[in-house]
């Protein structure tokens, strides 16, 4: 079926998968904790886009409510996470995960 003229669900899956992989790539490549945090947000948004596309495909509101709750949890997560990062910076004077490796095995 076509969600838009000439655009099927597969196009949206493609975009979503590309954005998700970019988020994973950013987490693997970068060492700045704030950038890694932003990559997590990017991955959440990729999944949100996929959920909205499926919601349009089935004509159901449930997936969009789910996306709404994902946004709520993401906002709470960012508030707490950035507070943790600020505390880390105040105590360790860095946000690089090369230095913050005390919990590493």
């Amino acid at each position: 079926m076509e969600l838009l003229p000439n655009i099927t669900i597969n196009h949206y899956l493609l975009v979503s998968v590309a954005l998700f992989s970019l988020g994973i790539l950013g987490i693997l490549l970068r060492r700045n904790a704030i950038i890694m945090f932003m990559c997590i947000e990017l991955m959440l948004n990729a999944v949100n886009l996929m959920l909205v596309a499926f919601s349009k495909m089935w004509g159901q509101t449930d997936a969009q409510v789910f996306v709404f709750f994902i946004m709520v949890v993401a906002a709470a997560e960012v508030a707490v996470g950035l507070a943790i990062l600020m505390m880390l910076y105040r105590n360790m004077n860095t946000t690089s995960t090369d230095v913050l490796d005390k919990l590493k095995w």
Partner: protein
């Protein structure tokens, strides 16, 4: 078709600004390009007729979350951070791992072509505020209230963590 061009335009903007977010060394540029990505995703929501989610997405992500990121980066003065030292060997390995994940996910997406034959459902306007509000306040009332409790907890936690006297 206009919507088709809009779809491809928004997709390319989202992809390349997300790629720029990863590549650039300056965290402020990263935040700004991620805001561009979020705006193009909001455009996707508009195209999919999910108007409530598009508005909430712009308000929450571009308006609150990314401003918080920008604020923290500027307050900690992170844009003058030292160069991240990482060997090219590790970088190549990361790109290979990410590429393998992309390959696997693309393989999965390619196998979903039977999804395309599902008949069009009738809910073209399921993303409007009226229908979504009914679902949110009728079927999902308890999760909605629990979300407010979660916000309260997050707020208390953020304030507690930001206190100066903490270790």
């Amino acid at each position: 078709m206009l919507t088709e061009y809009a779809f491809w335009f928004l997709s390319f903007v989202a992809f390349f600004s997300a790629a720029f977010m990863i590549i650039t060394k300056n965290p402020v540029y990263s935040v700004l390009s991620l805001i561009l990505t979020f705006f193009s995703i909001a455009g996707h929501y508009f195209l999919l007729n999910a108007q409530f989610l598009a508005a909430v997405h712009i308000i929450v992500y571009a308006g609150a979350i990314m401003v918080l990121f920008l604020y923290v980066i500027m307050m900690l003065n992170l844009n003058t951070l030292e160069e991240e030292k990482k060997s090219t060997w590790m970088k190549a390995l990361s790109v290979v791992a990410g590429g393998i994940l992309l390959f696997v996910l693309l393989g999965i997406v390619r196998r979903t072509d039977e999804l395309t034959v599902i008949a069009a459902a009738n809910g073209a306007d399921c993303g409007l505020v009226e229908n979504l509000g009914k679902a949110l306040y009728r079927d999902f009332l308890i999760p909605f209230e629990l979300a407010s409790v979660l916000f309260l907890g997050a707020m208390v936690g953020a304030v507690y963590l930001s206190k100066k006297e903490l270790v």
